[in-house]
Amino acid sequence: MAYRIIETCVNCWACEPLCPSNAIQAATPHFVIDARACTECDGAFADAQCASICPVEGAILDGAGVAVNPPGSLTGIPPERMAQAIAEIRAR
């Protein structure tokens, strides 16, 4: 099983030096995790390192394809408030 970085990644470099398996690389349009190298930090750290520093909710998926940091979990912004704000701003 391996973690995956998806397109909402902001290319901030925070995860890259933390990976104990050197599985993360800068790439275009966003960073990628080498699925063959990723161990989900099993045996190295209690928590997966990339997902523990990533600032963007939803940018890292676990082996089952589920967001490790779901909406609202990092910023504290309730997802419904975010959705409402986006709708308001688009309607301007």
């Binding site: 902001v10 290319n11 901030c12 470099w13 925070a14 030096p17 933390l18 750290f45 209690a46 928590d47 390192q49 523990s52 520093i53 600032p55 963007v56 990092l74 910023t75 504290g76 912004i77 408030r81 975010m82 704000a85 308001e88 701003i89």
Partner: protein, 512 residues
């Protein structure tokens, strides 16, 4: 380009009085020991006077962060906004060095290179330190600065000291973890994401420890605090006391910037920023404890130029690649330009120290009239793009510097209060259809001011300013700001605009 054009020598014969010469000093750093003043003398962010003359730049080599702040959105890529944490492109250390050398060649007033993000510089130690190492070697005349949230500071203090970095800014918003938990949702610490009060407690401990270590090693530390109404406003007085006791030499209380479109927690959850008056009141309350910084422009992590401007667009990687730069010649030119600036600053200083002759005594009848013991203070807005003089057309001003003048007898104390940004209302093109609205916005920006000093002003804005109760004045173009403010204050006082003298009795009419 002639040196004069960079930093105009002034030869004003205005009989005004600036605070440095009479009344209490406006040089907020005057109480500091000589070795500290020498370090900040030409640093535009640390010295209010220097910011009129010298330029700075930030290079965005540090995208990673180790904490989350509720006023920050980590999707930082934006070219149109100007606020901390926002950049157009993240640079490698090599690109950053090339950009710094190019800017230092093209803008010879530059004295300072800072790394301030868009994440936390010390959460990117390799990228940050590689940039500093190369610049120490290639541009030894440029001062190096770093700005941090402090979490990784204790472990990196010794390396910072090795790299010739003698200015550090720590953002400290609280010393109470309960308050911190309302500002910082999480930190990354010892390989874990930590939330809540515990996270804030660790961050605060590291900030205070890092501050102490830097002060012990003789590094100059400025503390930035974001004023968040209802969260840490009253608490910042305590922060000011604590950081001063540890040895921080300057406290910069900045207003929260929070709009829903920024996508930040505060912006989306309706947390408001402070009003100009709230900010000033808090700065006053903290000022009793230590030097306060009021000229901060809260610039982007890739800002370039004088504090009030951003010339970043002139120095994209593509444009830098096309520049042909002679680094040795550029450093020589910087030395010449800085010498010319210093000569001009010395001249301005000497002018201020000349014996004060009240302008009223020059223009009024010889019949003596007792001056009021303490005339009321007035806020006067100034349009300036640098050089310490009034040199911007009203319609072209991107910001106004707000000064407060207060008279005690014949003496006038002039002090700088704040810089307020405005939207340009005159773009000189076909956008004039919106001019009405934008001018109204500018006038709102000037709320609380009695007069506006600029190099020139058009008839329409003149009338609109007068209608709004403001006195426009274009009579002091190219004069030193403090002298002009003092002179205009005298005119306002004499004309009864400050509510102490009868207007009909005042022989000095406000000239157009």
């Amino acid at each position: 380009m002639a040196l004069e054009a960079l930093d105009q020598p002034t030869s004003s014969a205005a009989g005004g009085c600036a605070s440095s010469g009479c009344g209490s000093s406006s040089d907020k750093l005057a109480h500091l020991p000589e070795h500290i003043r020498a370090k900040v003398h030409n640093h535009p962010c640390f010295s209010e006077d220097a910011h009129h003359h010298y330029a700075r730049m930030h290079v965005a080599v540090a995208p990673a962060c180790n904490i989350q702040c509720h006023y920050c959105n980590r999707k930082y890529d934006c070219s149109n906004e100007s606020r901390p944490g926002v950049v157009s492109e993240v640079l490698t250390p090599e690109q950053a060095v090339a950009k710094t050398l190019a800017v230092a060649a093209e803008i010879p007033q530059m004295t300072v290179l800072g790394i301030a993000g868009p994440g936390d510089p010390l959460a990117n130690p390799e990228r940050t330190l590689a940039t500093f190492r190369a610049l120490t070697e290639k541009a030894p005349d440029i001062k190096l600065c770093v700005s941090t949230n402090g979490l990784a500071l204790p472990e990196l203090v010794d390396e910072i000291c090795q790299h010739n970095i003698d200015h550090v800014t720590i953002t400290i918003n609280c010393v109470d973890p309960e308050i911190g938990a309302k500002i910082y949702p999480w930190i990354f610490w010892n390989n874990r994401r930590i939330k809540g009060v515990k996270a804030a407690q660790i961050l605060i401990e590291q900030q205070q420890k890092g501050l102490q270590m830097l002060c012990d090693r003789g590094v100059l530390v400025k503390v930035n605090s974001v004023l968040i109404p209802g969260v840490n406003d009253e608490h910042l007085k305590e922060v000011s006391r604590v950081v001063k006791a540890k040895g921080a030499f300057l406290h910069n209380v900045m207003p929260l910037i929070a709009e829903p479109e920024h996508g930040t927690f505060y912006g989306l959850m309706g947390q408001r920023g402070p009003s100009n008056d709230e900010l000033q009141a808090l700065q006053e309350a903290c000022a009793g404890d230590m030097a306060m910084m009021r000229h901060c422009r809260q610039c982007r992590a890739d800002a370039v130029g004088m504090l009030g401007e951003d010339r970043g667009a002139e120095f994209t990687l593509e444009k830098i690649a096309a520049m042909d730069i002679d680094y040795a010649a550029a450093m020589q030119r910087r030395a010449e330009v800085h010498a010319a600036i210093e000569a001009n600053r010395t001249a301005q200083q000497q002018q201020r120290n000349e014996t004060f002759v009240p302008i009223t005594s020059l223009k009024r009848s010889s019949k003596p009239k007792p001056a009021p013991l303490a005339a009321p203070p007035a806020r006067i807005a100034v349009a300036s793009s640098g050089g310490g003089v009034i040199n911007v057309h009203f319609g072209h001003a991107r910001e106004f510097l707000i000064y407060e003048a207060a008279g005690v007898g014949d003496r006038v104390d002039v002090r700088f209060l704040a810089a307020r940004k405005v939207d340009l209302y005159c773009a000189g093109g076909d956008t004039c259809g919106d001019a009405e609205d934008a001018l109204a916005k500018t006038i709102r920006t000037l709320a609380g001011c009695t007069a506006v000093l600029c190099s020139k002003i058009g008839i329409e804005p003149w009338d609109r300013l007068e209608a709004a109760g403001l006195v426009p004045n274009g009579e002091h173009a190219m004069e030193p700001i403090e002298d002009a403010v003092a002179a205009v204050y005298h005119e306002l006082l004499a004309a009864g605009r400050l509510g102490v003298e009868d207007a009909a009795d005042a022989p000095v009419a406000l000239s157009a």
